[in-house]
């Protein structure tokens, strides 16, 4: 089985270290081979495409050039969106491709047919039935609000990931590990993204709406597939508390952490203690830890 080229994303060694660690552990456990792209660079995320479209294409193109495999997987929704958008643009716009090649001076890009996947897709490709068979600790009784955010699903013509308004891929995975995905309406509502830094009030308002909706739907925890979403929904609960006197106390976990728990991976590799709103009390309460 050939290895997937793994693009961790910049937060993987910092604020989203638990995502990277749990991802690696889960993949190792399932026998999914990940080969980190050597010398990978930042994909540019929002700032690059927002100020210079060639820059954003070039940064991703460089990573494609460095990639050992044509199939690339990432866990970050923003990186996933940038990679897919770039591959799509380059497949449909020859003149643009030439411009980008001038800038990047690639050595290994020609003739390659790139396939960009999000980690959720990789798990689905692996097979949810297979995952189910390997569950040692079914997460029974845990109600999970699956939060997809914006960039995983939009725009549907480019991303082709799932239904852009009521996606199901994460819900199905959560159901496969026998937790209970709740039905709720804020699956793809924006968290405010990078405004956590320049305009935090926007993030506080948008994340409050999301967390409240998750709470109203009866969720115990929120499950995410993107480091930006995670930090906005998790860390900023402190600011919501401080500035608006509202306490949600809603743990926000990476889906890989839940998956790892169900697969019986050692807790030290899952990083629950690194989350701001501690998920351990509720997990213990449900008898899952």
């Amino acid at each position: 089985m050939t290895a997937y080229a793994y693009f961790p994303g910049c937060s993987a060694h910092g604020t989203a270290k638990e995502y990277d660690r749990s991802t690696q552990s889960v993949c190792a456990k399932l026998g999914i081979e990940l080969e980190e792209i050597p010398d990978w660079v930042c994909c540019g995320a929002s700032p690059a495409h927002a100020v210079n479209h060639l820059l954003s294409l070039a940064l991703v193109a460089k990573n494609l050039d460095l990639s050992p495999s044509d199939t690339i997987v990432t866990g970050c929704a923003a990186c996933y969106n940038r990679f897919k958008t770039t591959v799509h643009a380059l497949q449909h716009d020859r003149p643009l491709w030439e411009q980008v090649k001038q800038i990047v001076q690639p050595t290994k890009l020609n003739g390659r047919d790139f396939r960009v996947l999000h980690l959720l897709e990789v798990i689905h490709e692996f097979g949810l039935e297979e995952v189910k068979e390997r569950v040692v600790k079914p997460l029974k009784g845990l109600k999970v609000a699956c939060y997809y955010g914006c960039l995983l699903v939009r725009p549907p013509k480019v991303m082709g990931f799932d239904d852009p308004d009521n996606p199901k891929k994460m819900d199905e995975l959560i159901a496969a590990i026998e937790a209970e995905p709740v039905e709720w309406e804020f699956k793809t509502e924006c968290c405010g993204a990078f405004h956590a830094v320049p305009h935090p009030e926007i993030v506080l308002r948008l994340t409050s709406n999301i967390l409240q909706a998750a709470k109203d739907a009866g969720a115990d925890v929120v499950s995410v597939a993107c480091p930006m979403c995670q930090i906005n929904l998790d860390l900023r609960q402190l600011d919501i508390q401080k500035r608006h006197k509202v306490t949600f106390n809603m743990p926000v976990l990476y889906f890989t952490q839940l998956l790892g728990l169900a697969l019986g991976i050692n807790k030290s590799e899952l990083g629950f203690e690194r989350l701001i709103v501690d998920p351990r009390p509720i997990l213990k309460e449900k008898g899952l830890m």
Partner: protein
């Protein structure tokens, strides 16, 4: 000896600006065989035509060439003029020096040269034209109307009142169409059933109308004046002769929870049912798919209950063949599925419904007796949001057109809602309000000014459920404000589309359909009730989204065309069709294989003792369209086109190559 007259038109500036008509006239005057060559500003005008008539008589012309616009425009005009002067009209042809010359070129010198050549070639052809007589085809004076909605009903009544027989075929168990589902109609707020049912009863009782409901057209053969139609009368499992419509069977039927088609899934019906109380005919039908007897055997309670023994489980479909002279297509419309936008719930929310479903809620004879209640929990609706343009005017969904009637029925819905729920709130999201009909603008203003309906200009981005309400996220672009409205009920004005099955039916008839599935009229401006196929007409929403007044007008228009056709005993067809030389034809039937109109038949040539000599091809003169494909396929030149014979075409080509 050929004596050809050439008449060159200036067409005002259309031709004369680019082509030097005087030069053309002079050049043609010198052409062998041309004895008369003049130019005039407007040949199609009365004085212009007089020029032709006078020249024919004075100069004893044997042929006429009018160099002007396209024959599509004026060939009949000039041919009539020639006929009036005593010259066989088929000895007159038009050289197109407008669409083919002055309108597409700008170099005056070259355009004039080209015009001269175009006229010269045609003169060479016309020298070899033969006089032809139009073909007279007898007419069966009976009409077929396909579709029993208001369009079909109106057309059928008009033709029947004109004294001719009509067969009205409707595939639903009752006539009435969508108009029967409406509660009230704009702009008068007449009760829809009240104005429709008298017409439905009139159809049923009219001596000239044969009503075939629960029937479909299966095949059509033939041509204008002489169609042969096969109709499948589907089995109702109820004997129509015997049934009195007492309804005892319906009361007895134990299957009571089947979603009602008439109520668009909101209400329930039994397996043996009459679609609605005012149905015509008032005879029930058994739904095989849900009837317990047909599914598992047993039951048959309706049969036991019927006092007249009208239930017949062994009834079979019947195939009827009818001869008719004209067909009117009035197959109506349908709505696109209301789950078209996943951002509006993708069909998941019971309280997000479409316009026809709302009509059923409003209707006094509907599932809620006219009370506006939520389909999900039956609770009263206090706030309703109407969303316009759901699918319509949406390039991304492949529906770029406007569905025309929604702005009006949304205003109607809002007004009716306010009448029923005085303290209710109604909001309408719109992009534009299209209210061009008589009394329409005033009707919409009534909704705003008298009923207090709030109109918000903008599309809706998302609809989702929260705390038992539907949250509608839209915008009012006029004020620049995004708005969020919690509603009890949301009504989507979904786009209109052509009825199911129309494409297949059109194909059987050879009637073109546009890119959206609507039937194509023969000319969008001047021939709105005819199709490309002679003898086949159309009326109503099958052609394009349409409201009731326009539908009724168009239906009467189509009927008038049929009446005009039936007023004559025969129809005249253009004689420029294919003809077989039976002496030389060997009966290989390559022509039949080439013919796209399926008009070539087998003809037996017999001697006086009735022995078969040979079988040759025969062209049905009523059907041939004169395309000429057969003349190419024929290996020994035994088939040729009248008026466009090979000899004529070669003469034209020779003139071109000689130039």
């Amino acid at each position: 000896m050929a004596r050809i007259g050439v008449f060159i038109c200036h067409c005002g500036e259309n031709i004369a600006r680019t082509v030097d008509v005087a030069k053309v006239r002079d050049a043609l005057a010198k052409h062998p065989g041309v004895v008369h060559s003049v130019d005039y500003r407007y040949m199609c005008s009365a004085p212009g035509q007089e020029l032709i008539c006078n020249a024919i008589i004075e100069k004893k012309l044997t042929g006429v060439v009018v160099a002007a616009c396209s024959p599509h425009m004026h060939e009949p005009t000039f041919r009539k003029a020639c006929a009036a002067a005593g010259l066989n009209p088929y000895l007159c042809e038009m050289a197109n020096i407008r669409e083919h010359c002055s309108w597409v070129h700008s170099d005056r010198e070259k355009a004039t040269e080209k015009a001269i050549e175009l006229v010269r070639f045609l003169v060479e052809k016309v020298k070899r034209n033969k006089p032809l007589e139009p073909i007279r085809v007898p007419v069966t004076k009976r009409a077929l109307v396909v579709g029993g909605g208001i369009a079909g009903i109106q057309a059928a009544l008009d033709i029947a009142n004109g004294g001719y027989e009509v067969i009205l075929v409707e595939r639903q168990p009752s006539i009435g169409g969508h108009m029967a589902q409406l509660s009230e109609t704009f702009p008068t707020l007449d009760c829809s059933q009240c104005i429709l049912t008298p017409k439905m009863v009139e159809v049923r009782q009219h001596p000239n109308i044969r009503l075939l409901t629960y029937s479909e057209v299966e095949d059509v053969k033939g041509y204008v004046g002489n169609f042969e139609v096969t109709i499948r009368k589907k089995a109702r499992y109820v004997n129509e002769e015997v049934c009195t419509g007492c309804g005892a069977c319906i009361q007895r039927c134990p299957q009571k929870r089947i979603p009602s088609e008439f109520d668009r899934g909101l209400g329930r019906r039994t397996a043996i049912y009459i679609p609605f109380p005012q149905a015509v005919p008032n005879i029930p039908i058994i739904d095989r798919e849900h009837c317990a007897y047909f599914r598992r055997g047993g039951c048959r309670l309706c049969e036991k209950e019927c006092p007249r023994g009208a239930i017949d489980f062994n009834q079979q479909d019947q195939l009827l063949t009818e001869k008719v002279g004209a067909i009117i297509l009035a197959t109506g419309y349908d709505l696109i599925p209301s789950d078209i936008y996943s951002e509006y719930g993708g069909g998941r929310y019971k309280d997000v419904i479409d316009g026809l479903q709302f009509e059923r809620l409003l209707s006094a004879s509907g599932l809620t007796n006219g009370e506006v209640l939520r389909p999900s929990d039956g609770k009263e609706v206090k706030s309703v949001v109407f969303v316009s343009c759901v699918g319509s005017r949406d390039r991304a969904k492949g529906i770029p057109y406007c569905s025309k009637i929604c702005c009006m029925y949304v205003a109607k819905h809002a007004i009716l809602f306010k009448h029923k729920v005085h303290d209710g709130q109604a909001f309408v999201f719109y992009m534009d309000v299209r209210a061009a009909g008589k009394g329409y603008e005033e009707f919409v203003r009534r909704a705003v000014e008298e009923e207090g309906v709030v109109y918000l200009r903008g599309r809706v981005s998302k609809i989702y459920q929260q705390d038992g309400k539907l949250i509608v996220r839209g915008v009012d672009t006029l004020s620049g404000m995004p708005v969020e409205i919690p509603a009890d009920l949301v009504v989507l004005a979904t786009a209109i589309r052509a009825s199911d099955g129309i494409v297949e039916l059109a194909q059987k008839l050879g009637v073109p359909v546009d890119e959206h599935g609507f039937l194509s009229e023969a000319h969008p401006k001047l021939r709105p009730v005819e199709t490309q196929v002679a003898g086949v007409f159309l009326a109503g929403a099958c052609q394009a989204p349409k409201d009731i007044p326009d539908t009724v007008a168009q239906a009467s228009g189509a009927a008038s065309k049929v009446l005009a056709m039936f007023a004559q005993d025969a129809i005249e067809r253009e004689p420029t069709i294919a003809k077989v030389n039976e002496q030389t034809c060997v009966g290989c039937f390559e022509c039949q294989r080439a013919c796209p109109y399926r008009v070539i038949e087998r003809k037996e040539i017999r001697d006086r003792q009735s022995n078969l000599v040979k079988v040759v091809a025969y062209v049905n003169p009523g059907l041939c369209a004169g395309c000429g494909a057969c003349t190419v396929a024929c290996r020994n030149h035994s088939i040729d086109l009248e008026g466009f014979a090979e000899e004529q075409m070669f003469a034209e080509l020779s003139a071109i190559t000689a130039a």
